[in-house]
Amino acid sequence: MPVMYGTYGLLAEFDTPAELTRATYAAKEAGYRRMECYTPYPVEEVASALDVHDNRVPLLTLLGGLMGVTTAFLMETWISVWSYPINVAGRPLFSWPAFIIPAYEWTILFAGLSACFGMFALNGLPQPYHPLFNAPNFRLGATDNKFFLCLEAIDPQFDREQSRAFLEQLQPVSVVEVDL
């Protein structure tokens, strides 16, 4: 892997989720697109500000669920009707009410696993290295009590001086430049 040099982006630190949300909206309005927010816990409004709600996780979950329900139901039908038919108290071999619960469990299992691993995959995880961990304040605060907005250098609008000035007028606790 080639060694990369340069700037990853500018990292602004905030104390509250409200300030972070406002800053994100402001950055969006100013035309920035390649940016990311980092919060110690999920902040719904920040996700809305970044417009990351419309992603493919729900679709993957649905597909997983459908796969689970079909697999389980067909498997049960095959076992009970063709593979190993047993007469249970005179009930029909194809007794669908009894199949519902295992089929439901498989729906949940497959949907859950698809959601979880789909989310990992779409997020590009696992990721053993991330440049932001080079910033000491990020290392200490991102999982604790700090809220970060990072404008990434690959954004066409990114300019080291202007972007820093832009972030500073949003009154963050600090703005630091993060190396790749």
């Binding site: 989720p17 409200a18 949300t21 406002r22 909206y25 902040v43 719904e44 409004e45 920040v46 809305s48 500000a49 970044l50 417009d51 709600h53 108290a89 009930r91 009410p97 009894a98 519902i100 619960i101």
Partner: protein, 442 residues
Amino acid sequence: MAHAIDTHGHAHGHHGPRVLPADLSAPPVVNLWRSRALIVAAVFAVLAALVGLLGGPNGAAHIMRGYLLGYMICFAFCGGGLCMLMLQYVTGGKWGLLLRRPLEAMVGTVPYLMVATIPLLLFGKGLYLWERFPTIASVHDALKNGLINEGQAHSLSWKHAMLNPWSVFVQMLVVYGFIFVWGSLLRRWSLQRDLDPNRGTMKSYDYWRIKTENLSGIGVLIYSIILTIVAIDFMMSLDINWYSTMFGLTFLVGQGYVVLALSVHTSIRLSKWEPFATILRKTEQYDLGKFMLAFVMLNIYLTFGQFLIIWSGNQAEEIPWYLNRIRGGWWVICSLDFIFHWVVPFMMLLSRRLKYSRSKMLALTTWMIFARCFDMFWLIEPGFPDTARHFHISVGTFAYLTVPVAMIALWMAYYLTQLKSRALVVVNDPHTVEILEPEHAH
């Protein structure tokens, strides 16, 4: 979704907490709604009378069945409202603060339900065998004359201690006594709490929180027993032989389903005017939507659970209840019930966008109340000899439309009167400050 919050947030352009309007009482439009409810009640009462006249004896019998449907729905609003009120006191949470006054208004309608119980006790002979044959001697006579079969006679004698008119009367005294006492106390305390001279202090918050929690904790337990009694007396005993230990619980969850639908509907409707315009935030509306989804899922879970257990057991005393409700064309109603009552709300409530949208949530909550009535139709109508395993529409069937609509509309008028009688926002509660905070996006 981002867009809704986005436009909303930027339109205001200020970041401080919002301020409650000076006048916290219900908007004048509630009077208009009440007049409309009364008109609907009157029109449908006339239509119900027509059904009774045109339908002959069958029509008259159906009037009582429709009456039972309306009664059970109104009871769900009133009793279920009390249960939800106690639940929000026990659990805390901002959603409860929003719904508290609508729920208190629902509980305040208990006199309506007390009066509405009387016709069931006096004219329920066509509905309940225990009312038609109130004594052991009359049961024996009925068996001799071939009016009932041996199984029914056995069940009637066996269940006589609980299911006879006087016993049910006493049970109803206990049921409504409980709802009245608990409802009145919680309603009174809620007003006293707002007038507390120490209001706004931690001491006052703690005092009222502990006081209401203590009453509500035991109240939720008692209510689940009380509700089971009502469900057994008025619904399960339509088929004297049948029993299910899950029955009371399915009604408890069904009440949560319909009470949330009505209270969310009320809140969203009121949010066009002050004070709900200020206090109903998107965040809480979204949370309430998720809460509704939980009830929708629990509802199908219990209903299907009951079916699966009875289907697996395949016992002669249990399974006819389902066969009566599936065979002879009833499978159509049963399938529609499954779709209306579960598939539609479940699919809709999965969507984030829908839970944030006011107009769509209004439509969905209306639908859920209708679906609950439809479910009740499926529970009641196949329970009689003329309709079991034989679905057909007669003039009498329309009693299921006219009588409940008249009853529910009249109940609504009472509910709206109760809603008008006090301020719509609870002031002395730590959540009031939180609910006035701007959402992060604002």
